[in-house]
């Protein structure tokens, strides 16, 4: 698994969003699978901002971008590429 997805999974486990022994498919919906709610989503974005030293633009916070590990990884990579 890509290290970004591993970081995200570890974060979700450490914050009690995901049981320690549970696995997550990159395409699984984090909201439909009952992993995060609206507060959890904001916490996750704060973690991403801090961990990767990026600023997620407010209008990028959509299901297409943030409801799966795959989508979140894509956003992080894009923002890292654009980083000065």
């Amino acid at each position: 698994m890509d290290h970004i997805q591993a970081d995200l999974t570890n974060y979700l486990r450490s914050m009690a969003f995901l049981p320690k022994d549970a696995t997550l498919d990159p395409k699984d919906s984090l909201t439909s699978a009952g992993i995060i709610d609206s507060i959890g989503l904001i916490q996750l974005i704060d973690f991403i901002d801090e961990k990767y030293q990026i600023q997620v633009p407010v209008d990028w916070v959509s299901p297409e971008n943030f409801d799966t590990l795959e989508g979140i990884e894509r956003v992080i990579k894009k923002l890292l590429q654009e980083k000065p």
Binding site: P19, G34, I39, D59, S62
Partner: protein, 331 residues
Amino acid sequence: MKEKLAQCRRCILDSRTPGITINPHTGLCQWCEQGPLKTATEEANRILATTRGGGEVDAIFALSGGKDSCYTLYRLKEEYPDLRILAVQFDNGFIADSAVENAQQFCHKTGSTFLSLSLDPLLLQTVFRRAAESINAYPVAARIRASDICNTCIGIVKQKLIELALVHHAPLIVFAFSPGQTTSPFVRLSAVYLRWFRNMFQKELEAMGVKNNDELLIPPELIEAQGKREMIIVHPLLIWDYHKEQVEQAVVTMGWKRPELADKISTNCLLNAFANDNHIRKYGIHPYAFDLAALVREGRLSREEALRNVNMEQSQDLIQYAHEKLSIIRK
């Protein structure tokens, strides 16, 4: 073999709570090991100091009439006197009379406009009954944070306050949430996020069996009309230096009255004791433990006081009152 119960030696979380791990070497839970909450205090203060609306209202304020929200309203107006506030008390059908008096009094003191927000009482009773009867309608992390009933009530309040902010073109929405209830001092809202936010809550309501739920949600046409207009939720209690035990002293000095009937934790809601009892019976989790633990961790409440709160018996009178009002047979 049964695993031995471990409790964090710093806060009050224990290994019975799903997802909580106590490190056997340090004796600390994972949150205490991470250290204090990081807060973007400077940016949040700048938002409160400079964000103003083009209409008649700058901020929609969630005013329960409890001590935290009354304190936050008072301090907000002291620090930002030019902020034009519409303070909204959501009437969930279980608000203590004294909480209404407290809310009105603090609006009067601060020159804020008071609005009592009501919805169909029968719909609310159905929603709270369904929340009480539901199992796992919310994610684990949400169930640790608050009871199913509180999560539902707060969910409705958020939807309705955002709706009011959209109607009044108010750029700020302020909640007196504490560090255990949220971790972000502010949240910027876009139309695309609001659409998702609405959808998430709608699914949670549906998971509880509440189907016809449009009245509880932000009208979609208002979200579409937002365009690029800036809207931000702010949580001042995450950026201010305050101590939980001093809050009550401060508000009492200003004329705040503690309700005679309410339980020791909630000072505004007559449904809270039942919500706590229901949550403990369903999941074995005290719905205030996580919040109180965060306050202890942040140095805003003593560990002894937090433990006293979670070990306190719920008011049987209030539990009976809620059973009768929600037409739930007591087992």
